[in-house]
Symmetry: C2
Subunit: 243 residues, 2 copies
Amino acid sequence: MLTIAYDGTDYCGWQIQKNGLSIEEVLTKAVRKVTGEEIPVWGASRTDAGVHALGNVVTFDTESTVPTEVFARALNTHLPDDIRVRSSREVPDSFNPRYDGLKTYEYYVLNTPDEIPTERRTHWYVTYKLDLDQMRKAASLFVGEHDFASFCCPRTNARGTVREVTAFDIRKEGDLITFHVEGTGFLYNMVRIMVGTLIRVGRGFYGPEQVKEIMEAKDRRKAGATAPPQGLFLIGIDYPALA
Amino acid sequence: MLTIAYDGTDYCGWQIQKNGLSIEEVLTKAVRKVTGEEIPVWGASRTDAGVHALGNVVTFDTESTVPTEVFARALNTHLPDDIRVRSSREVPDSFNPRYDGLKTYEYYVLNTPDEIPTERRTHWYVTYKLDLDQMRKAASLFVGEHDFASFCCPRTNARGTVREVTAFDIRKEGDLITFHVEGTGFLYNMVRIMVGTLIRVGRGFYGPEQVKEIMEAKDRRKAGATAPPQGLFLIGIDYPALA
């Protein structure tokens, strides 16, 4: 099991695609170089184009005699500097990184018209005045088990749209607004649509109570625009079974 | 007078060059589009390739009737998103941004082997254990008026090598070490060579007292390696005459 970090800016996302370079493709090639085996890798989260990770989780099955903890360093010599393996460890054969993980995402908004170019790849600049209290009230409505059909890109083939969000906090420090979201599973674009909807609440387009109505409508068109990818970070995935 | 910010990663530095795109070239083209005049721009600091700015200062002389404070917005529509004009104002004809400014630089080191790809364009990763106390003692020796010939790239044509550093603080917060440097003038590569030398002190190659000897030697070869450009930010330039 690898814990990996990446700057998603120059990739078409996690998943291998015909048109564009993916994290999965680059990582698979590095794993094949180190192991000498034609094996696939399994990613826990298929992040979108432009989305970053501090702790996505990847597994592969190998016969290699390379000590498990040496894999991180060995793989990093074959990876570009925008993809880094932070750690490597052995896990049981039965472990599937797609299941039973508690995921933490953070979305970073800079709430100022004064755009700093070095921040633009990792933040969404929102220039409007935002009402944080209203946004926090609305965010609390996401916590719990709900049908998130309204907060899901319709181009999805996930089984069902009920998911559980276990925490949703909004923190402010200077111009930086951090949306901290935890849950056991997320639909395609779900965090970004929730953030986009909360920004509408913050701008006063509608109140927190309408977020409940949007959720009940189970209709993507009722929710706000999808927040852009560059502000989203997959912070980490915690697997209670591995603790 | 423009206050500009940029991500220097994809530029060959401030100054126009034959081989590569410079900040100066991109900004000059934008100014010519907005004013309709074939005029040059004057930059306060000729930052190197890969070095960033939050507040470099640029002036130009124009007959344009565009209101001074509107220039920032007008120029930004003609600039790529890695160069932003943060503000624009009118200054007296006699004002020359190259002189009499108090410059503030910061250099960011992440002192951990755990490289985060989204930080790599704006930080230098130093994995060695560092002795901050020794580094702070050495840094204090830079403060004051000194001959900085040992801390200057020999490919320079600056008149003289005596400069005044008015502040040099080293701050630590988690893995982040910030070198905060203020002064009225800096030689070519001076901040990066001072930082590279302080890292040698922190690693225990030599003690703070040797920094004094290095300074007195007036020989670039005595000082440490030049720290890489991506950690350096020109934070801002303060002109007492404009206050």
